[in-house]
Symmetry: C2
Subunit: 230 residues, 2 copies
């Protein structure tokens, strides 16, 4: 049995949830709030970050790209055409570069800001940095997302999928990031039609359904979040 | 022929130089100053980050962990016992977790601050953020390094090498990070004897020699930098 410690509005965690869905891995998901720095969680992952995967009595597998490689190494070979990591070293490098881009750069410049300001700050006590969103931070994130959408647009216009001819981990990483922002109604979809069409394809996959069912009580999702013809 | 774009005082770049040394890969190294945002460099890696590797007419391989996997996939199988990535999925996950720790967390909390304040700011024009080091930043980095040394000490006290019984990418990542800080005389070696002994072993390897020869004109290395019995 696999257990994954995650938070519903984390790009890296959504990425791992999508991989588990695509690879048909049954998982027990446990919500963790990393800002609480729970002792037993820090013993599993001293970095204090999500996601963390534990398989049976095995050691904790920490971090989204580490989990991606682990699931691909232990399950990918059974997936045939639906394997999310290509076979050739150069194409694998391109998949990994894009996964790093979306989990690192895009998350750091866009998703992390918006989710922290609009969602996490509702839950974090005021004395520890919670409270109203900082409008300067929101403005920066809204400026940054346009550059990223252009880049995704360029990729989807020149390739079938983000990293090449087949759906790969890169598409799941990008869609995981966008989905967090989309919940908050912060994706200017009309900027780029090819990006929108590509996202529609990923969003329609069965692996995406649990993510479209995520809800926060205080913030209902944007009107287009669940709509497959947004 | 392999070309690697790098900067001598970057953890991620030193990590890749060490891998190339260990795997016996002949490389032409090209120094790149990423803060100049050179157009041809951005065309290779739109993220604008180092290191970038190009093999013959192949596509750019961008980022330290992407290069690590690429070199291991294309060369590692010839290395036998000296392969830097273990065979078992769980141990591979531990190597990757620690590589992420040292290139990400340790670099972000310690090395990046010290190198930026003490080295890069000498080269960056004053109007673009160059100038004297910020003493508050130096103080933070000096506090942070003690926690990291303790963690390395715990790892080296409980295992032969950082990730297990054999030298792996994890040791090279940690040593790459420490070497940048050691040049600046900022490693409190006396805090932890097992860490010091482990670093002495890695530092004595032939792959480390080019790194010990790195010099910045304005800043001579600390007295212990080259000394193998520091």
């Amino acid at each position: 049995m696999i257990k994954v410690f995650h938070h519903p509005f984390s790009t890296s965690c959504r990425f791992v949830r999508l991989i588990c869905g695509e690879y048909g891995v049954p998982v027990e998901f446990v919500v963790e709030k990393p800002w609480e720095r729970r002792r037993d969680f820090l013993l599993m992952n001293p970095a204090g970050t999500l996601p963390v995967l534990v398989e049976n009595d095995g050691p904790p597998i920490c971090g989204a790209t580490v989990i991606m490689e682990y699931l691909d190494e232990t399950r990918g070979y059974t997936m045939g055409d639906r394997r999310l990591m290509p076979g050739h070293a150069e194409t694998r490098a391109e998949v990994r570069r894009l996964v790093d881009w979306f989990l690192g750069k895009f998350d750091g410049e866009v998703v992390g800001y918006l989710v922290h300001e609009k969602i996490f700050k509702l839950e974090i006590p005021r004395g520890q940095g919670g409270g109203e969103p900082d409008s300067a931070v929101l403005r920066a994130a809204r400026a940054n997302i346009r550059h990223h959408l252009k880049y995704i647009g360029w990729l989807t216009a020149t390739r079938d999928w983000l990293a090449g001819q087949r759906l790969s981990f890169a598409d799941l990483a990008a869609a995981a990031a966008l989905s967090c922002v989309d919940y908050l109604g912060e994706v200017p979809w009309d900027d780029d039609e090819t990006t929108k069409a590509w996202y529609g394809l990923v969003k329609s996959r069965p692996s995406f359904r649990p993510i479209l069912a995520d809800r926060i009580l205080a913030i209902p999702p944007a009107a287009t979040y669940v709509d497959l013809d947004f």
